[in-house]
């Protein structure tokens, strides 16, 4: 937009003023957006979490303040503790697995075999599907009697009795975790693949000349160069997984006995199935604080990545 031709050089000063006004405009627009569409809901939710909110007073803004009662009740509830632990396990395993498998897949498709790029794009297909569809799909796969998972495991003799993937409290969380890993890995892979392409070919050539084998090249060239990307991807996956809702809703609704329930789903159930809006808001705010912390780490790693 801004011309740099010599004939227009006299306008540079004016442009600088215009440009800085434009930049302030950009700042203002993004601030307004953040305040209206993110700040307000967060503050509204936070306010609700300190109030006694019922169906009767939900349309009003001034509701009885009850301080930390909602938080106290949530933290004292054994279901909340169970669900919080589920969330941590669910997110932790997802991040490690999605980044791990994503890295492996990215490296695999970085090899120059025919149709590599095309197939890499195809893998992304699963990520494009709506979560509710993926949930329904995995509910079929994990069906005890007719599901593919049990059929295959029984056929190859790994198990001798069908596993109740979704109706055994000991398995339900693992089952939704597996489904979510499948769902999220392509996204991690694509981001990591993008990071891989930014590593200069010369580095590998130089390493090869120094006598580095494939493992040494991965260890001393790929991994250090990719490190900021991996951190950033981990943060993104954490944020995405922390919000997981539809997939679990479709597969188990959080059951049996909340064994596969996670914080966002629990918050929804408290607010909209049981009408404990304040309690639901408290659980939601707690989740938000966790996501915010991870988001801050993400922003920091982006800076490190930019500096690298």
């Amino acid at each position: 937009m801004i011309s740099s031709s010599p004939r227009r050089r006299f306008t540079v000063a004016r442009q600088a003023v215009g440009q800085s006004a434009l930049l302030w405009g950009f700042l203002a627009a993004s601030m307004v957006y953040l305040l209206v569409f993110i700040g307000l809901p967060v503050v509204y939710n936070l306010v609700m979490s300190f109030q006694d909110v019922t169906l009767g007073n939900i349309s009003e803004l001034w509701r009885p303040l009850i301080g930390l009662d909602n938080y106290r009740e949530a933290l004292g509830d054994s279901t909340f503790r169970k669900v919080a632990i589920n969330s941590i396990v669910f997110v932790g395993v997802n991040v490690i697995a999605q980044v791990g498998f994503g890295l492996a897949a990215a490296l695999y498709f970085a090899q120059r075999f025919p149709l590599a790029a095309f197939l890499r794009g195809l893998v992304l297909a699963s990520w494009i599907l709506p979560a509710l569809v993926v949930g329904a799909l995995w509910k079929w796969i994990f069906a005890t009697e007719y599901g593919v998972a049990n059929y295959v495991l029984l056929a190859i003799g790994l198990i001798d009795r069908p596993i109740y993937w979704l109706s055994d409290p000991a398995f339900a969380l693992s089952s939704v975790t597996i489904a979510n890993i499948w769902f999220g890995t392509p996204f991690a892979m694509i981001l990591i693949a993008a990071g891989l392409t930014s590593i200069a070919e010369e580095q590998y050539e130089a390493a090869s000349l120094d006598g580095a084998g494939p493992i040494a090249r991965f260890r001393y060239v790929t991994l250090p160069a990719l490190w900021p990307t991996l951190l950033a991807v981990s943060c993104l996956v954490t944020i995405y997984t922390m919000r997981a809702f539809d997939l679990i809703f479709a597969m188990t609704q959080g059951g049996p006995l909340d064994s596969s329930n996670v914080l966002p789903l629990f918050s929804y159930q408290l607010s909209f199935l049981r009408f404990h809006f304040g309690l639901g808001a408290a659980v939601g705010s707690t989740t938000f604080v966790i996501v915010l912390a991870v988001a801050l780490v993400y922003v920091r790693t982006l800076r490190i990545e930019a500096e690298a």
Binding site: T54, L55, I58
Partner: protein, 413 residues
């Protein structure tokens, strides 16, 4: 959309104020009925054609989201004029003053006479002597059974089980692991429908919701627990919605399945075997016929702009002639003066019709979701073996009884 009408005067019977305006006023309706054969579609069309003062503008909201949407609408003040809500949830809204009191309108109504309604459905719209919801339809449970499988196992297909012990015996005989057939199927999810499907057992055993830790309730939970523990019913019942239970039945993998009349339309086209219906069984030593009541109520949220028009549509939909069409999609009328002549699925109609008078409502209670939740947990604890039925119900009773001590359930249950 506003439509200019030149026929307003002729159609506005008994509504002189409305007829003065020649504009059809829009009445927004949120409903959950996605089957084209549902009576709401014919009803809307006929209503819009029968008069020109009001025009129904429908919005189909998925059943799982309608409560969420209504809460959102109440919070922001942008409520629809009319909405259909699952009956046990109605009291949560009516007790909090979020609905329009319809008592006076009902008193003046020609069609809506409380006396002709079955007690259970009518109760669902009541709170402290005032009327906030008008039942649209009613449903309850019965036993779908696969007569072909009965024959294959030497059971008499014309004599379905009538008692708990007969049900258990038949289901045991029908269980065929080699063919992946379970004898009995029901829904025990951690959701309202899981409670809907277990309460009949509680009531048949002579138990009640305010006495969950008593032997009657324990016997009821023990009965279904034994079905699962003895492998007569699949362990998957705790993660199978009612819809999925019936899918499994239609695939021939459940011999006897507990289900509602709304399943009939797809049963007719999908089940490729001789399927029939039987009444719910009774407990041998109690002989109490009891069933659980479901259905939808029409509500007018407080703040609705077209209360008059919305109520006129409720009246229109409560006309026995309109209610007669409900059965086409497996919806029973909530009132005793509607008898469908030559019904579709005549045998099923007779069975469900005989269950409605013994069906009991859930609540009405403003904290019904808080009562339902401990029951869901108890059922799941027992079925997974995490706790014995007695332990699980003791825990549930400890959560339910304080709620009922403050606000008791109307009548015995």
């Amino acid at each position: 959309m506003l439509r200019r009408s030149f026929l307003a005067g002729s159609a506005a019977v008994g509504l002189s104020a409305a007829s003065a305006s020649a504009q059809a006023r829009t009445v927004s309706l949120w409903h959950v009925f996605n089957l084209e054969t549902d009576m709401i579609y014919g009803g809307m069309k006929a209503f819009n054609e029968s008069q020109s003062a009001y025009r129904i503008e429908p919005r189909l909201v998925p059943g799982t989201q309608v409560v969420t949407e209504l809460v959102r609408a109440i919070a922001t003040g942008a409520v629809p004029d009319l909405v259909t809500i699952d009956s046990p949830v109605v009291a949560s809204f009516s007790a909090q003053g979020t609905l329009t009191d319809l008592t006076d309108l009902v008193a003046k109504s020609t069609y809506i006479k409380p006396a002709v309604y079955f007690k259970g459905p009518w109760a669902s719209g009541q709170w402290r002597g005032r009327t906030y919801g008008i039942p649209r339809d009613a449903n309850t449970l019965a036993l779908y059974y696969n007569a072909d499988l009965f024959r294959a196992k030497g059971l008499e297909p014309d004599k379905p089980p009538q008692t708990w012990s007969e049900l258990k015996a038949a289901a045991t005989k029908l269980r065929d692991a080699s063919k992946n057939v379970y004898g009995f199927g029901f829904c025990a999810t951690e959701a309202e429908e899981g409670v809907f499907q277990w309460l009949p057992f509680l009531w048949q055993a002579g138990g009640s919701i305010d006495k969950l830790d008593q032997p009657e309730a324990i016997a009821a939970l023990q009965f279904v627990t034994d079905m699962v523990r003895n492998d007569i019913a699949s362990k998957d019942v705790i993660n199978q919605s009612q819809y999925e239970v019936i899918n499994t039945f239609m695939a021939g993998n459940i011999a006897i399945a507990q289900g509602g009349p709304w399943e009939l339309p797809r049963m007719g086209s999908n089940a490729k075997f001789d399927w029939r219906l039987a009444r719910m069984t009774v407990k041998d030593d109690k002989q109490i016929h009891a069933d659980c009541l479901g259905g939808y109520d029409f509500l007018i949220p407080k703040g609705a702009k077209q209360v008059e028009g919305a109520f006129r549509f409720i009246e229109f939909m409560s006309n026995p002639e309109v209610l007669n069409n409900g059965w086409k999609s497996g919806r029973l009328a909530p009132r005793s003066d509607v008898v469908v002549q030559n019904p579709l699925w005549p045998q099923a109609y007779a069975i469900y019709r005989s269950e409605v008078p013994v069906a009991r409502p859930r609540g009405p209670h403003p904290q019904w979701p808080d009562i339902s939740r401990p029951i869901q947990v108890a059922i799941q604890q027992a079925l997974t073996g995490a706790k014995t039925p007695a332990e699980a119900l003791k825990e549930a009773a400890a959560k339910v009884q304080p709620i009922l001590a403050k606000t008791p359930l109307p009548s015995a249950d």
